[in-house]
Symmetry: C2
Amino acid sequence: MNRNLIEKIRKISGFEDKEMFRGAFEVVPVGKRASRPLKQFKPKNNKVMPLEKAIDAVGLRDGMTISFHHCLRNGDLVMQKVIKVIADKGIKNLTLSASSLSLVQDALLPYLENETITAIDTSGARGKIGKFIQSNRLQKPAIFRTHGGRARAIETGELHIDVAFIAAPACDIYGNINGVQGKSACGSLGYAMPDSEYADHVIAVTDGLSQIPLDYVSISQTKVDYVSEIDDIGDPAGISTGSIRISKSPTELVIAKYVADVIKYSGVFKDNMIFQFGSGGISISAADFLKKEMEKQNIRAAAGIGGATGYLVDMLEHGYIKTFFDPQDFDQLAIRSLYNNRNHHEISASDYANPFNGNPYVNLLDVAVLSATEMDVNFNVNVLTDSYGRLMGAPGGHPDAAAGADVTIVAMPLLRGRLPMILDNVQTVVTPGETVDVVVTEYGIAVNPKRDDLYNNLKKSNLPVVSIEELYIKAQKLAGKAAPLEHGNNICGIVEYRDGTIIDVIYDI
Amino acid sequence: MNRNLIEKIRKISGFEDKEMFRGAFEVVPVGKRASRPLKQFKPKNNKVMPLEKAIDAVGLRDGMTISFHHCLRNGDLVMQKVIKVIADKGIKNLTLSASSLSLVQDALLPYLENETITAIDTSGARGKIGKFIQSNRLQKPAIFRTHGGRARAIETGELHIDVAFIAAPACDIYGNINGVQGKSACGSLGYAMPDSEYADHVIAVTDGLSQIPLDYVSISQTKVDYVSEIDDIGDPAGISTGSIRISKSPTELVIAKYVADVIKYSGVFKDNMIFQFGSGGISISAADFLKKEMEKQNIRAAAGIGGATGYLVDMLEHGYIKTFFDPQDFDQLAIRSLYNNRNHHEISASDYANPFNGNPYVNLLDVAVLSATEMDVNFNVNVLTDSYGRLMGAPGGHPDAAAGADVTIVAMPLLRGRLPMILDNVQTVVTPGETVDVVVTEYGIAVNPKRDDLYNNLKKSNLPVVSIEELYIKAQKLAGKAAPLEHGNNICGIVEYRDGTIIDVIYDI
């Protein structure tokens, strides 16, 4: 990051002391964790009350920070319904801390325009909220965090949440919550757990109220202050995408097969390996190719980590994976598995990926298969903005898994439409190249020069191993050089690395 | 408590500001919870090292507080083995914070005598450690806490643990722990969980090291700093007492039947009731009688809470109980159930009983069936000392469950040997009478006068409902008046109520 940009960042109110990214494991945490207030709850007290009253009961007022999880994804109705109630009370200048924001949150636009919300931190943004941010109309730059980085920010106290509103597919009158039952079941509530542990106040918002204790508890009644019922917390159609299937795209299948072969020859393909596969068609297909090889060589995975899909829980069910640590579920099969399969475990965002605890699960990964919207010749990855610099994605767990895994594989097509995906510089650096080991495209596979060992292993195979420069040149040849992006000079977003340093910024458009 | 005693307590170093008990729910907590240090653990680091090295790595030194859980009960070998290693290093003046102490801890006597340990807090003490405490040879009075009270003390920061040593029946090389696998399986690690969450450093001590991630995790790797292997953490014979059976004592069976009938007529015997039964013969037999009535009236319990026994998990298995929240297991059947039955849930001591969180599970209890060593005419209960004032028991969860339950039933024989069990004054007040609703003896049932409603309900039955004074007189008639106890004037123990106030003291003998 150049000196001018650093100067510019440090002039922004609230960012004067922020450090810039200087390496994936360079920041050493000091001090103690934050903590939430002591509570007292007497027997026979009642937690259940209308949202309007619960908001009064916790004393929400101007300038506070409210938080939400994104486990209902594009089906979430809780953010808009809760913020409407808050706006109707005339409360202003809130910071919205969301574990992520989907297109459905376009509904929040009026509350940004009328200054109910004037600051945002999230993993991703898109649609109207993304445009609002890039129109530079927030009072300060939006902060984009990784899943592990958000847990870290909460636990260090950097992100202090006054009131957490937790969308609860199932909730009993005592305050126990789970995400695996009810008409709006969304699966693991991993991304809501840090909020429940550190927010000053926690309000469960549910459309699945039970009069008796739940038989599966994700977030305990000991962490929940109030329970409010609403008609619908989510639209099932947007919550899960249905069972995600193996790709039918020939290009994706070529990439997926290469990914499986990279794993096979990488040196980590052994009994009791531990892996993470994402939810896209390439990842699922790569898992399928790998499963066949596992069967052939009688290799079983000790553990799967990360977001769960129907394909992965089927591998769990059939013994290809022995146990699964799950912060997030992508489809109904995965949700059912979490509820029913005792080897399928719900973990928090902190357990999953926070770099400042005693050992996040991402550290166990032998292999992580990740995607990218763009990569540069230094293996830096963008998953937050598109080729035009517009907000459209989210860091999510990408930088976390990349940092934790022994072999981090980024799988992506070399071209999308008429655009090259390997560039001189990505629009936004989200995952630093030093944590990426291999890029797999339909035109070839490049190994990060710092991984000689991996290069030598892969060179022994028949795989098309080339240099990143060769891939770059190929992309330019096929698509032409990408036109330089036109953007403004105003910083309207800060991209934090998982350790809390600033790795890049988002400009207005 | 009289003014002289209060003066005396307040002269003890460290107890100057302690408040005296003034009612079960009178203390309102203020401020924030304690918190543990931020950590950083990089991929491929190694947590596994010999105990000697782990102790050096955490920087244990004179004057610190070390902690242990008692889930291995009378089979525990970890306290003595760890403290031997510490003593061999010449470290002195440690505070031993144990969730409880069993007879097996007689082995610690040399380390008390040589001042490796000079202060103790625990739930109970007995045997040689009890005698040592009552010989007034500790540097300050021992502190006796309830299970919920210890969690509270840890979470408020009143009890700061420098290094927690967690006996781990199963532990993987990453630091994940459970109590349900391995040769020393002890079941729920509920009483170790607060230590794992708040201690500055956590060392897992295991005889069941796994090279791959555990498929059941009670305490996450994110909370554990080091893992040390030793030959044996426990003696299976002392860990669980085998399946605890229905009583064969005619007196106990009479009491047990009365208990079941008290519940039947109490007004809370309804579908979806929630209860806690202890592990003694009376409790188990009472549960058995109640089960028959549940079957007859087609009543099912929504939840069981508290220590689990084979009898209760059988009720869970057969649908008499829908779900179970379990901080502790008493036998192998309960341990297996915790591992295998997805409606059987492990909870921490804080979740179970800490009065200063958002709703401990004890608050859900419609009925708790508890025991007593003695009771006085004001329903105050002693479960810590015997009729001669000698340390022999532990508050455990007794005051917690009594405070939480709607109907708290204390079941006990009116006489033990030649001694009356209902007295003018108990040797030690552990559970205040205001939280006890009914006492059930073989000679009759007395209802606390503050519970008119309960009295009226029970009076409609044929049960022998009498006044507590009648029971008292009966006991005196049968056994004669108890001789007043001879004890010293030195305070060598402080009995804390669950909210942190002092409810009684222990004198030297």
